[in-house]
Symmetry: D2
Subunit: 131 residues, 4 copies
């Protein structure tokens, strides 16, 4: 993976089944995408302020292989699989040591903050990603 | 209590300790205040659209007496304790049958959506509450 | 859909983009599956107590068509698409009036509470579903 | 504060008011208490495994001074205010640069995992805290 964010599991991420709740993995992935964006020199607020856009999740597929549990230190990966005019597709894996716990494919669309309509990914981001 | 919202407990509200996570009770209370507002003929969106205001939590105190668990059907109460120019103080209890599980006092301030500054509670709400 | 749960959108479900956060839809779907189970005469706690099993999400695919926003009253549907020895596949749609906002396919596996290993779906549930 | 955990604000922590949702601050504080515990050589899982106890929130008071927003890098502090036989009281502040955004007093009780009854804080933790 191009970028990896370490994420610790707390009580707030778990459920009474004793494992991490299934939508918490998706939240961990949002954190990792945000930090990946920051690692490229951008931020969610910056996109809104400078370009009046933000990335909305259009679709996601996730497979859970093994449960994460309280106190786990997870590695949440980010990798771009493809990039279109207004859409970006990410592959995101969650690992604990060498074990893959979950793997997702997440499609986001760049949308304007006012109308929520899809628009071209800003050139500044595009050029950074194509290098 | 003036208004009571029934709330069911799901896995998403619990943690690996086998009980409802402590901040979930506070989320249940937000749901109840919103429905209480709706029962008076208002809504969060309506306040933003018609009055450019929303209610922000300024302070809260909560005491937990007994844990709620998965599948519980809770009753989340709402009662106004006092009302100032821009501030409202609520008492909110969470009951399961005749047992009080948690009780909170929550202070909210009416703020403008643009500057987040405190403003007078809209007259329409005020008159409804004073009847 | 075989079963529909009405779900109201509160501030807690939304994000600073002004829409419902993408993982909140998945939480709404968990609520609906739990109520569907209850409508058949079962409950999450009952499965644990009587059968020492619970349902874990194995995989999910979701597509977001239109954003839900604050105060929306959503209809969260539940329909069984297929059922294997230990696995159940659900189709779950989220509608607002006649508009489909999101649609998901969610695979769950029946697992023992102690080892988290897949086991046969309890006969009591199976016979209820096959009627 | 004795211990400070940096916490970044993501979309998942915010609401449609454009600020961090009020119960998210309480979640940030749980993360910080867990990391403070870890910094002393303990963990939530270790307490359950080695001592059959965990800490439950008994009461909390929080005051919100200024809103945190998307992309903020917060500092979430942890300080023990007092310690009884089975109870610990924490002071937790959330700062952004030199500005205090929220401050809380949180009482936790050490409870057994089976009956949820209060018990003496394990000697190993107690001696670590009294040094």
């Amino acid at each position: 993976m191009n970028f990896v964010l370490p994420v610790r599991v707390y009580y707030q991420d778990t459920d009474a089944g004793g494992v991490v709740f299934h939508s918490s993995y998706i939240d961990f992935m949002e954190r990792a995408r945000s930090e990946w964006l920051r690692s490229l020199g951008f931020s969610n607020c910056g996109l809104v302020r400078d370009h009046q856009v933000f990335f909305m999740v259009r679709a996601l597929e996730i497979t859970y292989f093994k449960p994460a549990v309280l106190d786990d230190l997870l590695e949440v990966g980010v990798e771009i699989e493809s990039m279109g005019r207004s859409q970006m597709v990410f592959r995101q894996d969650i690992m604990r040591d060498a074990l893959m716990l979950a793997s997702a494919k997440i499609s986001l669309v760049c949308a304007t903050t006012d109308t929520l309509k899809p628009v071209r990914v800003p050139g500044a981001i595009r050029s950074k990603l194509e290098i």
